[in-house]
Amino acid sequence: MRNEALHFALRNRKLVVGTVVIAVFLVAGLAGPLMFDHGPNDYVGPAMAPPSGEFWFGTTTFGQDVFAQFVYGLRATFLVGVLGGVLAAAVGMVVGFVAGYRGGWVDELLNMLTNIVLVLPALVVLLIINAYLGVRSIGVQALFIGLTSWPWAARAIRAQTFSLRSRDFVDLARLSGVRTPKIILREIAPNMSSYLFLTFILLFGSAILVAASLDFIGLGPTQGVSLGLMLNNAARWSALQLGLWWWFIPPGAGITAIVGALYVMNVGLDEVFNPKLREM
């Protein structure tokens, strides 16, 4: 069965393309900054220079190297995506598992909590929190993104858990006196591992988008560089009016490519895990 999944995985164009794109950006983000002996915000070149052999993505109004900013920005983007995604997935899993497995009033309570957080428009909540934060960092940003974006994951996981709860193997474990957290960890979670992974991928992607929006509004990390901050700076320093397209196209294209690749990966994986969806 494992082999079959792998076989389909390798043959699934969506999955392969998505993975390759993510890998390329990940490598660029990890290795790219090593190419430079200057920081992303240093003034290293002539101001407003278009892309050239020396500055691949051109320079900003200050003479900062856009390519250097881009690869450093990728780091921040991946970091916020992974941290935010992991946190949201963790909260979503805990809430979803507990609610789905325990049922009863625990479920009622958690469900209500989930629904409340679900209905609150996350970005607006983030706005108001971030606006009052004196110092903002990627970590704090990811923390709040994680804390606001888990509800739908919790709901989905709850539903899945619900359907697994009454299966034989779970009953068996319960009858043999295994404790609840262990049942969830040993019996339920592994049986929906693919589903959990898909959930994480979507959370990862949405964390990146939310972070980019926050950065763009001007509530990004106060230090460092990220793709969203690049967009924010480009807009603020009139890159559009001055025709500095090399300043605002790469960061947006980077975000789009990463998030798009994640979505495509998600569908690809879904097709791999779910034989019904495989195209014949």
Partner: protein, 588 residues
């Protein structure tokens, strides 16, 4: 129920047309000026509500939010032009020539050591037809007796304002603060007594003043969230009295949503005068976009204010003037001017005095005590004062061995300052001083700044005015309060300097030499003690296009030299006069 419907109706009112309808007619909301306020005989513009382009002047760069009040006492947030286009001042002050010219006043003189006599022009009327008299002037100054009126402090040294006749007023003082008084003479907008009488303190200070009735050349036409529209008024006194006329029939001041929007509009010739900070504008001025600035080469702009870096002198090691001096030498201002601002600003004189005040700079003092970027000198100063790098991290520790790690705070989102702070941080580190740029939000910054809980902070609160006294007041004011909200953020205590500042206040503005004597001493103290580092002069941001209106002020020989701006508090410094010089680009 009324409140409920206030919420629900807009929510339910879907669709674009309803959006346009209720959103477009901002004047129908309860707080907007009422319909009848389009006084001065203003008629709606022809052609389906469009303003004819050749009769309209488009400006921007002042209003950072929808026009919310027309209260000239709220000098910091009243709608653009409220003071200057509607309410006028007694004098005009031209900072370029350092000249006062009588405006609503005909003349004014110190008729005694503690007495000032003011004569008003005749035949000036308010836009509602009532005559403008001495009563209005006295009333306006007496409003300052209310505690919350910003010029309330005037009454701590002014005794009375008495009417001699309809055109003559005598002001008597307990202290003759000449410099400040001169400032008041051209800064206070005179309001009509017959309309303001009987307003409570709250109304006076917080009132919206929907129907501004002034003596000036324009009247309220309309406003919306994103603009303020003034319409030319018939019978402006200066047409007759001074043979001056304003050409644009409409002035539309566009609310800034952001600087890049202003740049876009400017490029499309949708703006005639942009008083926005437009990074990169130098490229456009040099290109063939038809955009002009005051100078056609760096710094492109006139200077408007100084950006200072304050040391919190109540904290170690900023309490050590040698350390402060070392920092001053360590800052690469040139890199800020060129890198961050693309030469749109000018590096500051060591005294921080604006170019317009150059005559008050004692060159003897600055040539010996002045500083400039010199990392070696900075290192030398540090070494001499005992600041050494003991742990080999390239950064110095204090003589006592304590680690030095300072934070320079700049409000988050002030992108140019954030960039500048980064430059300062890196050049200070290069000289061995650990300064880290930090960007708290504005509120938090104000909090720590006022409470004296910061290390270093950038500030440019004080603007160009008639007197450098304002700057010294800003630098040296004593006593230090628990909260320092507008002056002396560094909590620098120097009694001598404060005495000199007060002394300067009492020198007559005409007595340049007398002023120079005092400023020279102040500069010596300032440069020896270095409580604050002047960094660069922010520009009087101003970009103009010639497509509809010409004869803008520029450095060219025959052009007017008035400050090309409609910024608040600048119209009485020549902004209004700039308008009188404008000519239609075609057929004018």
């Amino acid at each position: 129920m009324r409140n409920r419907s206030r919420f629900l109706i807009p929510v339910l009112a879907a669709g674009l047309l309803s959006a346009a309808c209720s959103g477009g007619s901002g004047s129908s909301t309860p707080t907007g000026p009422a319909e009848g306020a389009a006084g001065g005989g203003a008629a709606a513009p022809a052609d389906g509500g469009a303003f004819p382009r050749n009769e309209t002047l488009y400006t921007s760069g002042t209003q950072w939010g929808p026009p919310a009040n027309w209260n000239p006492l709220r000098e910091w947030d009243c709608a653009t032009g409220t003071k200057g286009l509607v309410y006028e001042t007694l004098f005009m002050y031209d900072p370029n020539t350092d000249k006062f010219s009588p405006w609503l006043a005909e003349s004014g003189d110190w008729t005694g050591d503690l007495e000032y006599t003011l004569k008003l022009r005749k035949d000036i009327t308010w836009s509602d037809g009532k005559p403008f008299t001495a009563d209005d002037v006295i009333f306006t100054f007496e409003l300052g007796k209310m505690e919350t009126v910003p010029y309330h402090p005037l009454w701590s040294w002014m005794k009375s304002a008495t009417k001699v006749d309809d055109q003559t007023i005598k002001f008597s003082f307990s202290t003759a603060n000449h410099q400040e008084w001169a400032n008041h003479l051209y800064s206070r907008a005179i309001v009509p007594k017959h309309l303001w009488e009987g307003r409570s303190e709250d109304e006076v200070m917080n009132g919206v003043n929907e129907k501004p009735v002034g003596t000036g050349p324009y009247a309220y036409q309309s406003h919306d969230q994103d603009r303020m529209v003034w319409i030319k008024r018939d019978g402006w006194w200066a047409t007759k009295a001074l043979n001056k006329d304003v050409k644009p029939k409409y002035i539309v001041d566009i609310v800034n949503s952001s600087n890049e929007v202003a740049m876009g509009l400017l490029l499309q010739k949708g703006l005639d005068l942009s008083n926005n900070f437009l990074p990169g504008i130098a490229n456009l001025v040099k290109g063939s976009f038809g955009i002009k600035t005051f100078y056609d080469q760096p710094p492109y702009m006139l200077s408007a204010n100084t950006t200072w870096m304050w040391f919190n002198t109540a904290k170690k090691p900023m309490d050590d003037k040698e350390f402060r001096k070392a920092v001053a030498y360590a800052i690469d201002t040139k890199k800020i001017v060129e890198g961050v601002y693309g030469n749109l600003v000018k590096g500051s004189d060591p005294t921080g005095l604006l170019p317009q005040w150059d005559k008050y700079v004692d060159k003897n003092v600055t040539s010996t005590l002045g500083f400039s970027y010199n990392p070696d000198k900075a290192k030398q100063l540090l070494a001499d004062a005992g600041y050494k790098d003991r742990n080999g991290d390239g950064l110095v520790e204090s003589p006592s061995g304590a680690k030095i790690s300072l934070k320079l705070i700049v409000p988050a989102g002030w992108t140019d300052w954030m960039e500048a702070a980064r430059v300062i941080s890196s050049s200070a580190k290069a000289a061995g001083i650990d300064i880290e740029a930090d960007f708290p939000d504005y509120n938090a910054l104000v909090d720590v700044r006022n409470q004296g809980k910061f290390d270093l902070v950038l500030n440019n609160d004080k603007q160009l005015a008639n007197t450098p006294w304002l700057y010294y007041d800003y630098l040296f004011r004593l006593p230090v309060q628990k909260l320092q909200s507008t002056t002396n953020y560094g909590r620098y205590e120097n009694k001598r300097a404060w005495e000199l500042t007060q002394q300067l206040d009492q020198v007559k503005p005409e007595d340049i030499e007398g002023m120079k004597k005092v400023t020279s001493e102040l500069q010596k103290i300032q440069l020896e003690d270095m409580p604050v580092v002047p960094l660069w002069y922010n520009g009087l941001w101003s970009q103009t296009t010639n497509s509809t209106w010409k004869n803008w002020p520029t450095s060219a020989p025959n052009a007017p030299k008035y400050p090309p701006t409609v910024w608040r508090n600048w119209l009485e410094m020549g902004g209004t006069l700039m308008l009188t010089e404008l000519q239609p680009a075609s057929g004018g």
